[in-house]
């Protein structure tokens, strides 16, 4: 088993067909979730009737700019940590040198990459944020009340690629080949999980905010931030 997990065969499988599989499920699944929501919303009397571009954008902007909404200002630490977490979570894998090299090898296209030390620091930030979120789930009464095992599973899915990537990069704790293989697998699991778990908030954030923003702004002449 150990030999298989660290072996080249598994590595080639993960680096080849599995990547395709993960990306197809991620893009196809995401498209399906979004399109089916947009389609199902047609039956609701109150959704498209009141949609408004200006107020949709107003709402989205106030919630993707740090400290632009009241609740963000009420919880400054949570705001800083959440923005750091999401920022690093998205930017690190996309602009990581090692990832770019793989893409260049395959298709001969490349884009700007993060300096290795920066990427390393960003990975560490993601891991620390995850630790913070996990502790918060256990310690904060109002969060603990609504926490179940699935919340930790989702947190683990998001954390795993970063933890294993960090271990592989620094050759820490476990064998490099093992860490690398698990890292790739973890990344693929995360991509597959996005459309079908509550990680889908990545997709629905925009749509829900647009609707709520329109409802508050265009219909009720009020602010939602």
């Amino acid at each position: 088993m150990y030999d298989f997990l660290t072996g080249m065969e598994f590595y080639r499988f993960l680096k080849g067909p599995m990547v395709w599989f993960a990306f197809i499920i991620f893009t196809g699944g995401s498209a399906y979730r979004v399109i089916s929501l947009v389609y199902r919303s047609r039956n609701a009397k109150v959704i498209y009737t009141y949609m408004d571009l200006k107020y949709s954008l107003r709402s989205i902007l106030h919630w993707i700019i740090p400290f632009a909404s009241t609740n963000m200002r009420n919880h400054p630490w949570m705001t800083i940590i959440t923005f750091l977490f999401h920022g690093c979570l998205i930017f690190t894998p996309v602009f990581l040198l090692a990832h770019n090299m793989l893409i260049q090898e395959s298709w001969n296209i490349a884009w700007w990459t993060l300096p290795e030390r920066t990427a390393d620091a960003m990975t560490f930030i993601v891991i620390m944020c995850v630790v913070f979120f996990a502790i918060r789930r256990l310690v904060s009464p109002e969060v603990r009340f609504v926490t179940s095992a699935s919340d930790f599973v989702i947190l683990s899915i998001a954390a795993a690629p970063f933890v294993t990537g960090f271990l592989a990069f620094h050759h820490l704790m476990i064998d490099y080949r093992l860490a690398l293989n698990i890292h790739i697998l973890a990344g693929e699991i995360m991509l597959i999980a996005i459309p079908f778990t509550r990680l889908s908030h990545m997709l629905f954030f925009w749509l829900i905010r647009a609707y709520t923003g329109s409802d508050f702004g265009a219909v009720r002449h009020s602010k939602d931030y």
Binding site: A44, S59, T70, N74, R209
Partner: protein, 453 residues
């Protein structure tokens, strides 16, 4: 894990009706509401919520109950819809009663949490669905069910018949004529600019409010009328009980009265939920995007009168004054600044509240909670503790609360917590301070100055 503890409450509308509920009926109703009536929002909201708990501090119950996590908005969804959707609930009367208590007595549907959720999830919509389930199973506070029955029989909230109503209007008109020369409460005038629509309490035990409105309309020289037929009252407790069919019927009757009189606008009295039912819920249930007859709230109307100089403010109130922002008018209609304009125009010492405007706390009586009667009074008193603190901090002696629910509960809170607050509607504020032109004053008035409230 946390233990959720609540005081036992005896309410026939929930205890007796929940007893004999057949599991099949519960299942059928839940399936009907969650699969047929609800729309795409339900599952999207529930599946997107990341359980971060950031909505907690939005809720006045959570803050008033010493940050008890079971009162956080997301916790209320957890204790109801998560169970139902996850099929973890036992389909029996006791469970429905538990859901009813959470949806009816622990949420005012004020929508403050939507402003604090990073995704903007409309938690009030989710809890309104739970209310709908309970309503269809007839598990709702007894007084609220009684209100709904009254709506069905008399088209008013509190069993006021058409004859009593017309009689009261004639009596009020007569009385008003002692102050204002040739004052009129014109009934059934076709083609008037405004049709005034009051709360039924304004023709029972708060008649001075209707008299005030008539006084203002007469002094400002507005072309107005009131219908002599059913549909004159615009409150809608059926909306809160989850009896949406009745809610639609009430609004239809109400708008039909306006159609028949061919009025250009409807002027709504100071009742928050009535405004909400007419402008949003009822209108949408009937299939209109916006009300078929333009709907003007009293706050906007007074603002325009003062701004345009249609009435003149003769004197200002000297005592310190603060404000309650009713959810239906401010968070859900954006009239907060207009309300402040009126207050600044009529009061010398206005003390702003924190948080203010759309961020202000609900009075804990909205969403029908004021109508649940004595068994549930404690919930308003306890849930309103954060409100009490807010008022205490301002040091004001008068609270302007332009909504029947807010007004009543703040008066009760003032008694309960010995705050010594005097609560005023916006129309009382205007009548106290406006000038009645010399030529309009009746003989007695000329001798005594202006009339009281």
């Amino acid at each position: 894990m946390f233990k959720v503890e609540r005081k036992p409450v005896a309410d026939l509308g929930m205890d007796d009706t929940a007893k004999g509920l057949a599991p099949e009926r519960i299942e059928k109703v839940m399936r009907w509401v969650l699969e047929r009536e609800s729309d795409a929002r339900l599952r999207t909201y529930v599946e997107t919520c990341i359980h971060c708990g950031l909505c907690s501090e939005a809720c006045h119950y959570y803050l008033s109950y010493k940050r008890d996590p079971s009162y956080a908005p997301v916790s209320k969804v957890r204790q109801t819809l998560w169970d139902i959707l996850g099929r973890k609930h036992p389909a029996d009367g006791e469970t429905v009663k538990k859901y009813a208590r959470i949806a009816f007595a622990e949420c005012n549907l004020c929508r403050r949490c939507s402003m604090y959720c990073p995704f903007g999830i409309d938690i009030a919509y989710l809890l309104a669905l739970v209310r709908r389930i309970c309503g269809l199973l007839n598990v709702a506070p007894q007084y609220l069910q009684d209100n709904t029955n009254s709506h069905i029989h008399t088209f008013t909230q509190s069993w006021v018949g058409q004859d009593d109503y017309v009689d009261t209007l004639q009596f009020l008109e007569e009385e008003l004529r002692m102050d204002i020369l040739n004052a009129r409460i014109p009934l059934d005038k076709t083609g008037a600019e405004y049709m005034y629509t009051p709360h039924s309490h304004e023709v029972t035990f708060k008649t001075h409010l209707l008299a005030n409105m008539a006084r203002i309309l007469n002094v400002a020289g507005i072309d107005w009328t009131m219908p002599s037929t059913d549909g004159w009252e615009n409150t809608n407790q059926a909306m809160h009980a989850g009896y949406y069919e009745t809610m639609g019927m009430i609004e239809r009757k109400h708008f039909e009265a306006a159609f028949r009189l061919k009025v250009r606008r409807i002027l709504a009295g100071e009742c928050g939920h009535a405004f909400r039912a007419a402008v949003y819920d009822g209108t949408r249930w009937l299939g209109w995007k916006t009300p078929p007859v333009p709907y003007v709230s009293a706050i906007q109307f007074f603002y325009e009168l003062v701004r345009d100089g249609r009435i003149r403010i003769a004197r200002k109130i000297q005592e310190p004054v603060t404000v309650q922002d009713p959810c239906s008018f401010v968070r859900n209609r954006g009239l907060g600044e207009m309300l402040r304009y009126i207050i600044r125009a009529t009061c010398e010492d206005f003390r702003e509240v924190t948080p203010k405007l759309e961020h202000n706390y609900c009075c804990c009586a909205g969403g029908g909670v004021i109508n649940y009667g004595p068994p549930w009074k404690f919930i308003r008193m306890e849930g309103g503790r954060i409100k009490v603190r807010q008022f205490r901090e301002t040091g004001a002696k008068i609270v302007i609360a332009p909504c029947h629910s807010c007004h009543k509960t703040i008066e009760e809170m003032s008694d309960f917590y010995k705050l010594g607050l005097h609560v005023l509607f916006a129309n009382e504020l205007i009548v106290k301070t406006m000038e009645v032109p010399e030529a309009m004053r009746a003989v007695q008035q000329k001798n005594e100055g202006t009339g009281g409230v």
